[in-house]
Amino acid sequence: MKNIITIFKRELGSYFATPVAYVFIVIFLIMSGAMSFYLGNLYERGQADLSPFFQYHPWLYLFLVPAIAMRLWAEERKSGTIELLMTLPISVGQSVIGKFLAAWVFIGIALILTFPIWITINYLGDPDNGVILAAYLGSFLMAGGFLAIGSCISAMTKNQVIAFIITVVICFLFLLAGSPLVLNFFKALIPQNIVDAISSLSFLTHYASLAKGVIDIRDVIYFVSLIGFWLYANTIIVEMKKAD
């Protein structure tokens, strides 16, 4: 546990030691604001809720989370610091978790900094703040899912650009797993029950109810087990590829 905290602190500190953190946060805030107001018509709808804000988060994360995740392991491998990290008395699992948590908390900080939109909506009307809090939690969980995928892919390559692109593609597939675009493609190839299984992996389906403020334990379990699975794969890949 101590080791996880040590790694976590070092990683989180390194975001703020470079422009990465500030660029990310500024872009995230601008984009999330722009999407809520221009695409989601937050004002024009005349409703005191934040669903126009939350409904675009999956699309925002699709590009921004891989940008954070791509450096997690690829940079360590490129700069050779992975040799240092792996010869310190820390297990691979502890490093994977520490790094993941740092990146996740960092995204959490960016998410918290969207609070002016929450103040705005409270000023304009009388929204259900319980629903908003639940939606924030749901959004944070989904970000964790994207991030775990990205962290795992980042461990496969030394090249951050490749890590970014592959992560975006895989996240895109997970996002749209429940949509006709993906399902029709698979329908011709594989039996219906597997197609159903694929559709049940969709980020959008699981996020949809969370974004409405409904915390269904099945959705939470889905995201938590997704994170667990990808981080486990991440650990194995780091072990395998660390010295390549």
Partner: protein
């Protein structure tokens, strides 16, 4: 101490290290010599637990590196080739991170920090990011990291590479001063270094140990008195 038995490492078809066995006792400074690509770094990476051996075993202070990696790693200080470190950190932050990982606390942590900073003359660059430091300072930050927890076993992969003559001298003095009661393995191309600090030299080429002797013993093997000539003769197969 270190016990290495029948150590081999294969990368696909390539055999990087073949059937290497040796022991190193406390107080010994072992110089690892050999041409580029001879298997020096690969052997060191296996001792420090970064690479898993294909066959054979390594024991560090009584702990098998494959079976009890964390226990073994706790007792090792390692400077990887090229001295990689986190460039966005300052030496102060970096040493603090290493101290936490090494579980140094309280007065001991303060004392050890002070000592390595003083010994490696890092005081002037403590608050500069490592990225902005010269090669010599980067190397010294890497060394500071390796000796911070006062390890029983020190593995240094080309510790003086990229240093100027004065810095080389200082690093050699440092190694000499911590050598008693410790196991130190250094790899180098520089033969005068072996003469200066090592009590024992292993010459390795194509993954095999060719010679395991004292620097004096090496000299006696050759007609020439120069270490460079001895090295060339041995690695090109003129002496067996």
């Amino acid at each position: 101490m270190i016990k290495i038995k029948n150590l081999s490492k294969k990368f696909g078809h390539l055999t990087a290290v073949e059937d290497v066995s040796f022991d190193v006792q406390p107080g010994e400074v072992l110089g690892f010599l050999g041409p580029n690509g001879a298997g020096k770094s690969t052997t060191m990476k296996m001792i420090t637990g970064f690479l898993a051996p294909t066959t054979g075993s390594i024991e560090v202070c009584g702990f098998d590196v494959s079976e009890k990696p964390i226990e073994a790693k706790k007792r090792i200080g390692y400077l990887p080739e090229g001295a990689p470190s986190y460039g966005e950190m300052t030496p102060v932050q970096y040493l603090e991170f290493i101290a936490q990982v090494r579980q140094l606390t309280g007065q001991n942590k303060i004392d050890r920090n002070k000592e390595v900073i003083q010994r490696l003359h890092l005081d002037k660059v403590l608050n500069q990011t490592i990225d902005t430091l010269s090669k010599g300072f980067k190397r010294r930050v890497g060394l500071a990291q390796a000796i911070l927890h006062d390890p029983d076993v020190l593995v240094l992969d080309e510790p003086t590479d990229g240093l100027d003559p004065n810095q080389k001298f200082e690093v050699r003095e440092l190694i000499k001063s911590i050598a008693p009661n410790k196991v130190i393995i250094i790899s180098t191309h520089i033969l005068s270094e072996v003469d200066a600090i090592c009590s024992r030299a292993i010459i390795i080429a194509d993954g095999k140990v060719l010679v395991d002797d004292t620097p004096e013993g090496l000299r006696n093997k050759s007609s020439s008195d120069k270490m460079d000539d001895i090295f060339r003769e041995i690695t090109s197969g003129h002496i067996s």
